[in-house]
Amino acid sequence: MRVARQSERRRAIALCAAACVSLLGCGAARADDASSWREIETKYIFGFTTGSGIGLEGEKEFTIDTIGRFGKRDGSYNATETKYEFEFTPTQFIQIEFGALGSTHNISGVTGLTDRDQVALAGAFAEFRYLAIERTSNNPLSVTLGVEPTVRRIDETSGEGVRNFEFETTVNADLELMKNRLFVGFNLLYEPEVTQPVIGETQREATFGGSAALSLRIVSNVVIGGEVWYLRHYDAANLTAFTGDAVMLGPSLFVQFTPKMFMTAAWNTQVWGREVGNTLPLNLAEFQRHRAKLKFAWEF
């Protein structure tokens, strides 16, 4: 069984490598075109890491953004949360987004979680982003500050009915290393939340962490990359009760289909983690074994 899984993994890695090589080959063939490419909006080119781009004044966008979380310590765990989002840029420094959240939970045999198979309208969110440092042809660095209040009626992890309030704050920075071609992105994240379950005490928790991502534009409309996240979880909003941490690693892909339509996809696997009071490898109490992101956007 284990041998079969290893060979399957090797085959998947070989397939990914072949795809990367062919994409890179395609990019190399057009390497001389990079100076003639249009500048790229960096917000979505880093996978789970968010770039500093805030869009263009007057631009409106509708997006469907799904994040899937897969795998716990035991049993079967598959959960998704989808943002149905309207995004607009009212000024050259501010971007606003808001929308509804839908969720799915397919859980069976996971210790500490009730088995369920459900689809639900999970809540609503809004996001405000402010461009603090703008990139120019003389300054490759760009930094955006963001806050995202979210209200949920369905718990993100367990799928139970709850009242959850989350207030995500982020710093999104990116650096253009090679004009129009190579970008590095950094995120800092602080996400306090309070959850009131139907039965039981109110829970306060927070996630704190950061990421680094590198993305290469291989042809004018395709960007590939990789990112690493380090996340810490606390059972208190003020970061005093540490419960565990994890490192997630994975590739990302951005494709601009037309000037008004694009998609972004990313996959992260937990490569290291620890839970306080548990000697087993990985942190599968607060985080998942894998997470995936798939986003489609239409500008108008």
Binding site: R38, I54, L56, E57, E59, Q92, T136, S137, N139, P259
Partner: protein
């Protein structure tokens, strides 16, 4: 307490006032769009002053003046003029294009 509140109110009023760069008169840049090209396609403007692009679309179909680095986009219908206001800019090169026509490009040099 009263002094603190007064100070906070003053700060808030100060923030609402236009900054010196906002109060400055904008530099106007006139462009025409004809046969799928900008004329002129290389323009310049002084740094730290707001800019106002006036784009006259002489073609028979709509164009979209767009720029990632200027962070603006505006559809200009056929035979009309569009006005695009841009913040005060730092020195550098800012590209613009017609989002409906990949061949229509131009650049603004701010110095």
């Amino acid at each position: 307490m009263t002094r603190t509140l007064a100070l906070a109110a003053l700060c808030a009023i100060g923030m609402l006032q236009p900054s010196p760069s906002q109060a400055q008169q904008a530099t106007e840049i006139h462009l025409t769009y004809s046969k799928g090209q900008f004329q002129p396609n290389q323009v310049s403007a002084p740094a730290d002053k707001p800019i106002s692009f006036r784009v006259k679309n002489l073609d028979a179909k709509a164009m979209e003046f767009e720029s990632t680095s200027l962070r603006v986009e505006k559809v200009v219908a056929a035979g009309t003029e569009g006005v695009i206001n841009v913040r005060a800019l730092k020195p550098g090169r800012y590209e613009f294009y017609d989002d409906f026509n990949d061949k229509a490009r131009g650049a603004l040099t701010v110095q």
